[in-house]
């Protein structure tokens, strides 16, 4: 039995840092398509985070991995970020579709100001991703929201 306080302090620190990471890492949403077009894994990602009291950010990203591979078309057909206060949409920023050709990664970040809200205030990133390689097409809809 280990009774030294330093030992348990270290264990507690490791757990606390782990919990901190869980809190910070789980904010985004992803979905993936392994063996997309038989050459790569396609990944769609959306994320939302608070920067400071003034603004919050919304992100959209399409990329390939394992292995990273340039594909015919990569990006999204549409993307919107919005904030809601008690279910009411305060701002709804609709962005045009955007793609790159012959690339492995495409992303964008939108910046919105934070509005005062007396209840549940949330930021959203939503839209449909776009992956094409040869005859293979993958267009997943993905949405994430976080308290901001």
């Amino acid at each position: 039995m280990i009774r030294r306080p330093k030992f348990w302090l270290g264990v507690a620190l490791a757990i606390a840092l782990g919990v901190y990471q869980v809190h910070n890492v789980l904010a985004y949403a992803t979905t993936s398509y392994p063996n997309f077009a038989g050459v790569t894994t396609a990944v769609a990602l959306k994320d939302v985070w608070v920067v400071n009291s003034t603004s919050w950010d919304a992100k959209v990203q399409s990329y390939t991995t394992n292995p990273v591979r340039n594909i015919g078309t990569i990006g999204w057909t549409w993307w919107t970020f919005r904030d809601t206060c008690n279910g009411v949409i305060i701002d709804n920023w609709v962005q045009p579709g955007s793609v790159r050709y012959g690339a492995s990664n495409h992303w964008d970040v939108g910046v919105d100001d934070r509005d005062p809200c007396g209840g549940s205030y949330r930021g959203w990133s939503l839209g449909t991703h776009d992956f094409k390689e040869g005859d293979s097409i993958w267009r997943p809809y993905l949405s994430t929201d976080e308290g901001i």
Binding site: L45, S53, Q61, Y63, R82, T84, I89, N92, P116
Partner: protein
């Protein structure tokens, strides 16, 4: 066990814990183990016919059940006829860490005092606020309807014994009182009845200060600075708290034509009751000019007043998506 081993085990646990948890999370979220490339660096039914409100003393809480603003003649942002706040005492230098903590404590004490007054256990809480925004460009709802920059927010919260909102009916109205959006929260599901969307939610604590004290509690983490002044606001003595953000490089936000270099969020509280008088947001443009981009006036806050039947009926409406 030797001392060296005793120290080694926690360090090893720390490293293994961080690596292991990170890896597990990556798997849970479905992302691949390598980091994503390209991640950036960073006519209002204001219950005039409702049951008498409880727990509000008009002498003490001057904001309670004030008449709603008229559709025309409402002071606009930058309206020089509106009584400005005048500072009678100011901080001549940036507040130290201890002073920041003391300011935060003051904000939280005021908020707790005000919450104790307006959040008294189970029952309905009714809040109405007037938002006046100044943007270069607005946005639209998914159905194409424009979202007004200036609007009235009217929200009914049904609180449980813990003071958590378990049912909500929220309206965004034009300044003429016309409904723009209606949303509800029931059975842990949010429903925006106007756009026909719904999503999961959970009970939450309403924030009579519109989130200012919660933001202030994050000031240190965000690198924001807090300051405090005693000011006169429309003939009333108020405590003005300012939360200031400085941006390392000019920041362009959606809806604004020019980048900003810093910003402030200012909350004016009644020093006696803790009631929020006014909340405003200010952006400092790259050329140094200040621009008030939002003013939020609390109009009504009342407790233990039943919503009118036509308002309650919205709770039963369903959406398809």
């Amino acid at each position: 066990m030797s001392k060296r081993k005793m120290l080694f085990i926690p360090i090893l646990l720390l490293v293994v814990g961080l690596v292991g948890i990170s890896g597990a999370l990556v798997q849970v979220s479905g992302q691949q183990s390598e980091p994503p490339v390209g991640t950036p660096q960073p006519d209002l039914p204001c219950s005039s016919d409702a049951v008498t409100a409880q727990a509000v003393n008009p002498d003490e809480l001057s904001l309670v059940s004030r008449p709603l603003p008229q559709a025309r003649g409402t002071p606009q942002i930058g309206d020089t006829t509106a009584a400005p706040a005048t500072a009678s005492e100011s901080l001549a230098r940036p507040a130290s860490a201890d002073e920041q903590q003391a300011i935060l404590q003051t904000v939280q004490t005021l908020m707790a005092q005000w919450s104790d007054t307006v959040l008294q256990g189970s029952g309905w809480l009714h809040m109405v606020t007037h938002h006046m925004r100044d943007k270069d460009r607005g946005s639209s709802l998914p159905n194409g309807q424009a979202i007004p920059l200036n609007y009235i927010s009217e929200t009914w919260y049904r609180l449980d014994d813990q003071g958590q909102a378990v049912e909500v009916i929220a309206f965004m109205r034009s300044e003429d009182g016309e409904p723009v959006q209606i949303s509800t929260f029931r059975g842990n599901i949010w429903r925006n009845l106007t756009v026909g969307e719904k999503w999961d939610g959970e009970p939450f604590m309403p924030r009579p200060d519109l989130g200012f004290s919660a933001d202030a509690a994050q000031a240190r983490e965000w690198g924001s600075t807090l300051s405090q002044q005693t000011v006169t606001l429309a003939g009333r003595t108020a405590l003005r708290f300012t939360m200031r953000d400085e941006f390392g490089s000019p920041l362009l936000m959606e809806g604004y034509a020019q980048p900003v270099i810093s910003a402030e969020r200012r909350a004016y509280f009644d020093a006696r009751s803790g009631a929020l008088f006014l909340l405003e947001r200010v952006l400092v443009i790259a050329d140094g000019k200040e621009r008030v981009v939002e003013r939020m006036d609390p109009i009504t806050i009342e407790y233990s007043v039943e919503p009118p039947a036509e308002v309650l009926a919205f709770l039963q409406q369903e959406v398809t998506k």
